[in-house]
């Protein structure tokens, strides 16, 4: 006996199959172009995200007062050490400026890593504006919020929360191999 497509169980199974594909296929990978933003570097210079297009960008939306963000620095340091700066650039942006975090607090944190842990955080650091523009766009759920942009500025990967180097490196290898 051959089941027809309008049989209730078959129809139900088809519906179930489609439903599962649609709703359980959610991944954290995205391929949309990230919204450009400007930020202020610790030197007081204004930079834009698009200034860094042409390299794979690791955007780290962080805050000085956020403990997991400090742990994330160790993982970002490994990326800084293991990937060429011609291929990958890291941007750590303090997105809690609207809550009182300042350039001097960020600088103190970088200095503390250097003086107390002998670790130089040798990538670009910057600050969001007082309105929290970057926070609202990229870190509304919480910090650290990590994004990987491909060389054309498309968001390849995003993750909210602390993430280990191995996981980030796997994504970086994927996006670098695509070029």
């Amino acid at each position: 006996m051959i089941s027809r497509i309008d049989d209730p169980p078959v129809l139900f199974l088809v519906f179930l199959f489609v439903f599962l594909i649609v709703f359980t296929g959610c991944t954290e990978e995205k391929s949309n172009t990230g919204e450009d933003f400007s930020f202020t570097t610790l030197d007081g210079e204004t930079k834009h995200l698009i200034d860094f297009y042409g390299k794979v960008i690791v955007l780290d939306c962080m805050a000085v007062n956020c403990q997991p963000c400090m742990f994330q620095m160790f993982e970002l340091k490994k990326i800084s050490e293991n990937y060429s700066k011609n291929d990958v650039t890291i941007l750590s942006i303090d997105v809690w400026v609207s809550s009182g975090e300042t350039a001097s607090m960020l600088q103190d944190t970088i200095n503390a890593f250097k003086n107390q842990l002998n670790m130089t955080l040798d990538w670009t650091f910057g600050l969001d504006d007082l309105q929290g523009t970057i926070q609202n766009t990229y870190a509304s759920v919480g910090v650290p919020a990590l994004y990987i942009f491909d060389k054309k500025g498309n968001i390849y990967y995003s993750h909210v929360g602390y993430e280990e180097y191995s996981s980030l490196a796997a994504k970086l290898d994927q996006v670098l191999s695509k070029v």
Binding site: P8, P9, F12, L13, L16, F19, L20, F23, T24, A63, N65, C66, Q67, P68, C69, F71, Q72, W96, S99, G100, D108, V141, G142, V143, P144, V160, G161, Y162, E163
Partner: protein, 173 residues
Amino acid sequence: MKNEQKFLLFVIVIGIISATFGSALAAEPILGEVTLTPEHPTKLSKITFTANIIGEDIKTVRIIVLECNATAGVCQNNRDNQTMQHIEGSLYRANITLDYTPASYIAYWVYVESNTGATTTLPDTHGVKLNLSVTSNNGNNDNGGEKSPGFEVVLFIAAVCGVVILLGRKRFR
């Protein structure tokens, strides 16, 4: 006579230095105690922070409260009004309502701004960390916190049950 003059000069210099540092130390605000009501808050609860701050020339007192999930390593900044109101004497108070569902702990700091513009962070830059009491566990979180099974598992189980019932009915026909 010369020795007497030197001694007098020494005493004056020491006096000036002591007075300068003494007044500076007196101006530095001191955080006596921060009490929380309730003492052991739970997530999504309302907390009253009362800070005892001793010092002169205090312009504003703010409290920063972070809500974090230790498992996912995520922190959110509570965006409630962070200014602590001056109640009486050295007491300042603020009501904060926690709003981050996956939060497992909070951390808080008190910032004191003086009329001269100087800001002091109390008790130190690391803040005070406090684990939130657990009274219930709903399991499902949907805003970037714990990666526990969510609504799709429930729907999947319901769908499987539906298929089993339909197939069972057909066999009985």
